[in-house]
Symmetry: C2
Subunit: 172 residues, 2 copies
């Protein structure tokens, strides 16, 4: 069950922090890799890369120029997270059957073709909230909550959970 995440329409000035949150949540909750369309953003790529280097694993992101070509050529199934879609509860069982899955999360304006090209349009509540929250909840449901204690290979830093305060084990 390999899950990739595609973030649509990134804008450097406005979206840098939200897109970073999208990809860090994707990584932490079990996604394998990330893609984004919109403005190519070296700082976004750097900050995601830095997190992987420090905290382990191989999660990477890549800029792509055309979502349309990418979705059409994707060798797997595609789900678009949108507040307008069918409830997650009703669709998750079918989605879990996909062996290779691309999860598409929107930016400011999602082109109508995305709704047509996706295998599923799925809502995480029918209330407007956040693509970061929607993605996190989707991944959690998809992986049956098993990602909370995922181990990342070869970390340079590792948190040792504490009742109060901070403890980070560094191995470099």
């Amino acid at each position: 069950m390999a899950v990739s995440v595609l973030r649509l329409g990134h804008r450097i000035f406005r979206d840098q922090r939200i897109s970073t949150h999208v990809f860090l949540a994707a990584r932490a909750l079990g996604a394998y890799e990330g893609f984004y369309t919109g403005e190519k953003d070296k700082n976004l790529e750097k900050s995601v890369k830095k997190i992987s280097e420090q905290w382990g694993g191989n999660f990477k992101i890549k800029h792509i120029s055309s979502y349309k070509k990418f979705l059409k050529e994707w060798k797997g199934r595609t789900i678009h997270l949108t507040v307008y879609g069918l409830p997650l509860k009703k669709t998750i069982t079918g989605i879990r059957k996909a062996k290779k899955l691309l999860v598409v999360v929107g930016g400011e304006k999602v082109p109508p073709e995305v709704y047509q090209l996706a295998d599923w349009n799925v809502s995480v509540t029918s209330q407007p909230h956040s693509e970061v929250a929607a993605l996190a909840l989707f991944l959690d449901r998809y992986f049956h909550g098993k990602e909370f204690s995922r181990k990342f290979p070869k970390p340079k830093m590792k948190i040792i959970p504490q009742e109060r305060g901070k403890l980070v084990k560094k191995s470099y």
Copy 2:
């Protein structure tokens, strides 16, 4: 089980979108009200208010000047979401016993006192990701996933879930 959310250290220029996502996720996933410290931000307050007016319910946010006073005077239990805390899985059963709960989510730098003042310091994975994702996953676990289909009273707009495209019912 009334849950309130406190966002620490809001900065108008840098945090407006993330703080908006924090509060919209809080509202959509069952929190009752929001508070924030840091810079008072009329646009943040307006955009949260507008969402409540359009999509129903009474979720509101309020600026407070001192997190310390607020936490000390809070008549209920407090949980601080932090990557350094104890795993959610180990703590959630105890937390659910609280009848009135304040969930604290950090900004850039969380003052050390917050770790001391909170009843629980809890991590949603031990990987760095996003306060929006952490809050969403916490609320989902706290409410046993029941908030996905929550009804909001007196909405002016309501989404009718669709397989493809958008359908919004307007009642004004």
